[in-house]
Structures are given as structure tokens and as C-alpha cells.
């Protein structure tokens, strides 16, 4: 069955972003949570949908349209640039067959801005880091790591631009989870050296949300250096969002944008080879 309960607050564009926010469809909660995030200092928020394949046939829902939540984006005091709300999908994989949905070209996965995968076994972690077309790999924080991290898949993931994600709101809720969060995070940092790490909340309520600079300080406890911790809530999130955008383009080099053509006649008159030369 499908949860539509995670929201990710994303920090991006070098402004604070948080990549996790729980959204419950049909209630007012996501809107209040999102507004709270922006008032605390984030510039970009992503609303998350979690999918866990427990039954054989699973349909991924379409992402919540941002216009459903907000008819007009809320204005935040003290911010000069407009805020952004994105949609995100997290797929919990415990079996190799679950990854097939990511390979299918016509699946609804493409409709989300960011795609994350939560591998439960070592093999799936390896596959997620090296092959899967995702932007984020989630690291478990609520239990002892079921496997050890190894350097090769993590290095491949860093080269590919895939980021690792740690969540902090379980640590706020419970002290045992706090221990697991910190120890799992330290394990990750030993191997990845603080590169490509994102810290986000998995907040369901405003009380579980912390400000961006506080989360950057939390990164210090996780073993990040000061500048890496700040990047974990700003620069690395921006990189993850851009990585998500490249999935919609051709290898991230060319993007097609619909632009109104003022006059078709001039362009058609030139033969194709001459046109190419002009564009150089």
C-alpha cells in the first residue's frame, strides 16, 4: 500500500532547502507545514510521497499539484527571492523487482521533480548507487544499519552525482533513534568524507522542523565539517534538484523550452547546414 505521508523540505538554490515534508492528502496539514518551513528560513521545500511495494501490483500516484495546496505562493517576510515548492518520490526497495518501476520509461516516476530510493539490503544499496536513475539514496536512521558501507559503490554514486540523505526528525522524537542516527551518519561520513550529503527533515508536524542553521549545526554532530554541514542544507540540495532536472533533459546538456516563434518564414528559408553554422 502506499503512504502519501512524507514530505521533504528541500533547501536549494544555495538558500536553505529541506528535502522532506510529510504530506497527508486531503488535510490542511501540508499547507501549514510548508508555510512554517518558509517562515523558519528555508527557500525551497519538497513534498514527498513514499511508496513501498508490499503487494504485487502497485500504481504510483501522480504527484500532488502545488496549485492544489496553494492557489498563490505564500509571501514570506524577510526573503527577497520567491519560494519554491517541489514534489518528490521515495521508493522503499526491499526486493530487486521493485526497481523495475524506475526503469520503465512511461511510468509516473517522471512526473516528480526528485526521485529518491531507500534500499534495505546491501545488494540494493550497491545497485542504487551504481545503476539506478535516482537523485537521492536514503540512509536508514531509525535502526541499526543492516549492512556496512563500502567505498566502491559510494564513490561511484558521488561521481554520478547521486546524493546521500540523512533525516533528522526521528532523532528529535526519540533518544534511541538519536543514537542510531548519529552512529549511522558517522559510518557514512567515514567513507564518503562528507561529500554529497543532504540533511533533511521527515517532518509531519511543525514541531519537528528545525531552522536551516540549526540543521547545519546538527551536521557537525554527524561528522561533517562546518562548511560541509552548511553545504548539506544548501549547495548539495541544489545539486540534487539539478540532477533531478537532468532526468527530464538529454543527458543534462540540452533542454528544450517552448518558445513562441515570431516568424517561421525566415528560419525555413535557410538550408539546414547553414543554420547549424549560425548557431555556432
Amino acid at each position: 500500500f502506499q503512504h502519501t505521508n512524507f514530505g521533504w523540505y528541500l533547501k536549494a538554490r544555495q538558500g536553505p532547502a529541506n528535502l522532506k515534508l510529510k504530506s497527508t492528502r486531503g488535510t490542511d496539514r501540508p499547507r501549514r507545514n510548508v508555510q512554517f518551513f518558509f517562515s523558519v528560513g528555508y527557500s525551497v521545500v519538497a513534498i514527498n510521497h513514499v511508496v513501498e511495494f508490499k503487494e504485487k501490483k502497485q500504481e504510483i500516484e501522480k504527484p500532488v499539484a502545488v496549485s492544489e495546496l496553494f492557489t498563490s505562493l505564500p509571501i514570506v517576510q524577510g526573503k527577497s527571492r520567491p519560494i519554491k515548492i517541489l514534489t518528490r518520490l521515495t521508493i522503499i526497495v526491499s526486493d530487486p523487482s521493485h526497481c523495475n518501476v524506475l526503469r520503465a520509461t512511461s511510468s509516473r516516476v517522471r512526473l516528480y521533480d526528485i526521485v529518491a530510493v531507500f534500499p534495505k539490503t546491501e545488494k540494493l544499496f550497491h545497485v542504487a548507487c551504481t545503476h539506478l536513475d535516482v537523485d537521492l539514496v536514503c540512509i536508514t536512521v531509525t535502526e541499526k544499519l543492516p549492512f556496512y558501507f563500502r567505498r566502491p559503490p559510494i564513490n561511484v554514486a558521488i561521481d554520478r552525482g547521486v546524493s546521500f540523505e540523512l533525516v533528522y526528525s526521528p532523532a528529535i522524537k526519540d533518544s534511541t533513534m538519536r543514537r542510531y542516527t548519529i552512529s549511522n551518519a558517522l559510518n557514512l561520513m567515514q567513507i564518503c568524507k562528507g561529500k554529497n550529503v543532504i540533511i533533511s527533515s521527515a517532518a509531519e508536524r511543525p514541531l519537528e522542523i528545525r531552522g536551516p542553521y540549526d540543521v547545519a549545526n546538527l551536521g557537525l554532530l554527524f561528522g561533517l565539517s562546518e562548511s560541509d554541514a552548511k553545504a548539506a542544507v544548501s549547495t548539495n540540495c541544489r545539486a540534487a534538484i539539478l540532477h533531478g532536472e537532468t532526468r527530464k533533459t538529454a543527458f543534462g546538456i540540452i533542454a528544450t523550452v517552448k518558445k513562441p516563434r515570431p516568424s517561421e518564414a525566415d528560419d525555413d528559408s535557410l538550408p539546414a547546414c547553414k543554420k547549424a553554422k549560425c548557431e555556432d
Binding site: 527577497s80 527571492r81 561520513m189 549547495t235
Partner: protein
């Protein structure tokens, strides 16, 4: 373990303390005050003083208006008209030449300097622009904006692993000499067509002998508002003050306190913190550095706004003259705090915001015209001059 070691560290900060005398030829006090452009808060503390003298009061009231313009496009700051009206200084070399030059401009021969800073932009996440009185326009842009404007700049020194911030410096005086240059055309094209940037600006203009409302009328097509700096005064009674000796910058045990102890104490006084080290005080267990005395009353005045360095110079001079007549107070202090989101601290040294964006300086003026100067900066900052 590396993490534990890092957790024990304090965020990087620098404090430069120096002592000198106002009478010295080589005293840098004027230069340092004049090159710290974006000042947010000025406070002075006078022990053993209940009311302010008339001259000081007038100066405090006249820290000048500053202006707030909404949605001002950047290309307005590089127009010939703007540069000639507000930025260019006219030097009186020869009366005839000066007269001719000034006749073609709208202002009489005088010195003027204009200062501007974007409002509500965070230096670590947004694009920021600042105009310095020496005619330089500094833009601190994030990677995407920098690449879109197409201007030449250099990467910020405090960018981290990946370079995400770039600094573009445009010399307006240089540009205005030659308006047909390729450089000017490119900058103009970039600001008008390629990537028109608009910001809310705080502006202040120091001028001698020009009309007061020139700025209001110049930007009348944009929403410009005039503001007066906020002034807060308080008189404290029975304040514990540290004992200082002007010759002992580092302090002498049992005799006088050091410069950094004074700065800590001053911060506590400004924050209105109890200095008694009471065990049941939840907020603070700070106590006044020893040796200390108790003064019957002290006068604290704080001016908040967008304050020009020229006004601070006048304030400093007036505080020096405080000791022309014999006074009970052994010293007075003048503290100036800069905007946390300014792209520069002193002159054109880069300023950043990691977890705090402080750049401030503090004068301690003694009754024998000696002074101490402390300059403090935070993590993402160059060393103060």
C-alpha cells in the same frame, strides 16, 4: 576522533586590538572609520554621565536620513546622470576649472559620497549588491546569476568545496570617464537586457552644500521613502565597570583589565545582562571582569539605521572632545556594528556569513587622548586592516 575534535572548536573569529593616540600623525583611526562603509548600529557608552551635552545631542539627532527604494533596477546605478549627481566627487583644483565643471553638473563644487546596500538579501544565499563611496559597485552573485549576467568577476573566497558565489566589481568612476567604451556597453547590456536585476536598496548620501531632497526627487519614479535612524537611550545606575589603563592593552592582573575582557563586558551591557553572577540566574552567569569599580550612572545611546561613516567620524571627534573639560569618567566607548549581509567589511575586503555575519569595531577613548581600537570579524571574513 576528528568529529570530537571539531565539536570542541569554536567557529572561527578574529579580534584585532591596537592602541594609539589621537594626536599621533600616523593614527589610523580616521581611515578605519571612513573605510567601514555599511554601518548598522552605533552605540556609545559614557560612564559617570547622566545627560548628554548639547553638541553630542545635536550630532546624534543629525545622523542623517537614509532612503529605502523598492525594486530599483541595477542599471539605474550605472547611468551617467546618477554617477555625476551622487557618486562623483568634485575636487577644487583650480577655481576656474572647478567652476566650469560644476556649472555643467547640477551640484555646486563639494564633496559627496553615496552608499547603497541591498535590503532583505542574505549574503550566503541571495544576490547582493552594494555601492561604495569610492565609486565601486560590488555584486555578490550566486553561480546561476553570475553565469547569466555574463560579467567578469572572481570566485568568492568563502565558497566551500564547489564555487557557488562570485564577486563582480564595477568601478563607476572609471566607467563614467569613457561612456562609449566596450566595457560600459557590455555592462549596460547585461543590466538592461541580458539579466535585469532588481533589488530593494538602502541608500545614504553624504553631501556638503547640496539640496537636501535631491535623492528623493531623483528616484521619485520608484517608491522611495525617507527614514530617520532610530535612537534609543538609557541611563544605567550602579553599573560595574572594568578598570582600564590605557598603556596596558593586554591587561595587568590585579591592576587593569584587557581589551578583549572589555569587549565581552561591553557586549553584556548592550544586551542588558545581569553582571552579578547570581547562581539562580538562568540567562547568564557572566560577571564583570576584575578589577572593577561601580559607577553611579552611565549613559548609553544606540543609533540604528543605515549610517554613513562620515557621521561616525564626527561622533568620534566629538567624543574625543568630551575630555576637554575634566570629567569623572576615565574612558568612553564607541561601538559600531556593520550589516551582516554586506558583501564588504573594510574597504573592499570580502565579508561572508557562515553562521553569523558580524564585523564590528569598538573605540575606547581615554582622557589622555589615548585610544584602543578593537576590530572583530566572523568566520567568512578577511582579516581586518
Amino acid at each position: 576522533m576528528a568529529t570530537l575534535r571539531r565539536l570542541r572548536e569554536v567557529p572561527r573569529h578574529l579580534l584585532v586590538c591596537e592602541k594609539s593616540n589621537f594626536g599621533h600623525d600616523k593614527s589610523r583611526h580616521r581611515h578605519l572609520v571612513e573605510t567601514h562603509y555599511h554601518n548598522y548600529r552605533v552605540s556609545f557608552l559614557i560612564p559617570e554621565c547622566g545627560i548628554l551635552s548639547k553638541e553630542l545631542k545635536n550630532l546624534v539627532m543629525e545622523t542623517g536620513p537614509y532612503y529605502f527604494v523598492k525594486n530599483l533596477p541595477l542599471h539605474e546605478l550605472i547611468t551617467h546622470e546618477f554617477i555625476n549627481t551622487f557618486v562623483k566627487k568634485v575636487f577644487s583644483l583650480e577655481p576656474f576649472v572647478c567652476h566650469c565643471v560644476s556649472a555643467s553638473l547640477r551640484i555646486p563644487p563639494s564633496l559627496c559620497s553615496c552608499c547603497a546596500l541591498t535590503y532583505n538579501t542574505n549574503i550566503d544565499e541571495d544576490n547582493t549588491a552594494a555601492l561604495l563611496p569610492n565609486g565601486k559597485l560590488i555584486l555578490s552573485l550566486d553561480k546561476d546569476t553570475y553565469e547569466e549576467t555574463g560579467l567578469q568577476g572572481h570566485p568568492s573566497r568563502y565558497s566551500g568545496r564547489k564555487i557557488m558565489k562570485f564577486v563582480v566589481s564595477i568601478d563607476l568612476m572609471d566607467l563614467s570617464c569613457n561612456l562609449d567604451s566596450k566595457k560600459y556597453k557590455r555592462i549596460s547590456w547585461s543590466f538592461k537586457e541580458k539579466k535585469p536585476l532588481k533589488f530593494d536598496f538602502l541608500l545614504a548620501w553624504h553631501h556638503t552644500g547640496a539640496e537636501e531632497s535631491a535623492m528623493m526627487s531623483y528616484f521619485s519614479s520608484y517608491r522611495i521613502q525617507e527614514h530617520q535612524p532610530k535612537i534609543a537611550v538609557s541611563t544605567m545606575t550602579d553599573l560595574q565597570c572594568p578598570v582600564l589603563q590605557s598603556s596596558e592593552l593586554g591587561g595587568k592582573p590585579e591592576v587593569a583589565c584587557g581589551a578583549w575582557e572589555l569587549l565581552d563586558w561591553l557586549g553584556a551591557v548592550f544586551s542588558d545582562v545581569e553582571l552579578n553572577n547570581e547562581p539562580n540566574n538562568f540567562i547568564s552567569t557572566y560577571c564583570c571582569p576584575q578589577p572593577s569599580t561601580v559607577v553611579a550612572k552611565a549613559y548609553l545611546c544606540t543609533i540604528t539605521g543605515f549610517i554613513l561613516p562620515e557621521k561616525i567620524c564626527l561622533l568620534l571627534e566629538q567624543l574625543c572632545r568630551y575630555f576637554d573639560e575634566p570629567k569623572l569618567a576615565p574612558w568612553v566607548t564607541l561601538s559600531v556594528q556593520g550589516f551582516a549581509d554586506s558583501p564588504v567589511s573594510w574597504r573592499e575586503k570580502e565579508h561572508g556569513f557562515r553562521k553569523g555575519g558580524e564585523h564590528l569595531y569598538n573605540f575606547v577613548i581615554f582622557n589622555n587622548q589615548d585610544y584602543w581600537l578593537q576590530m572583530a570579524v566572523g568566520a567568512n571574513d578577511d582579516c581586518p586592516p
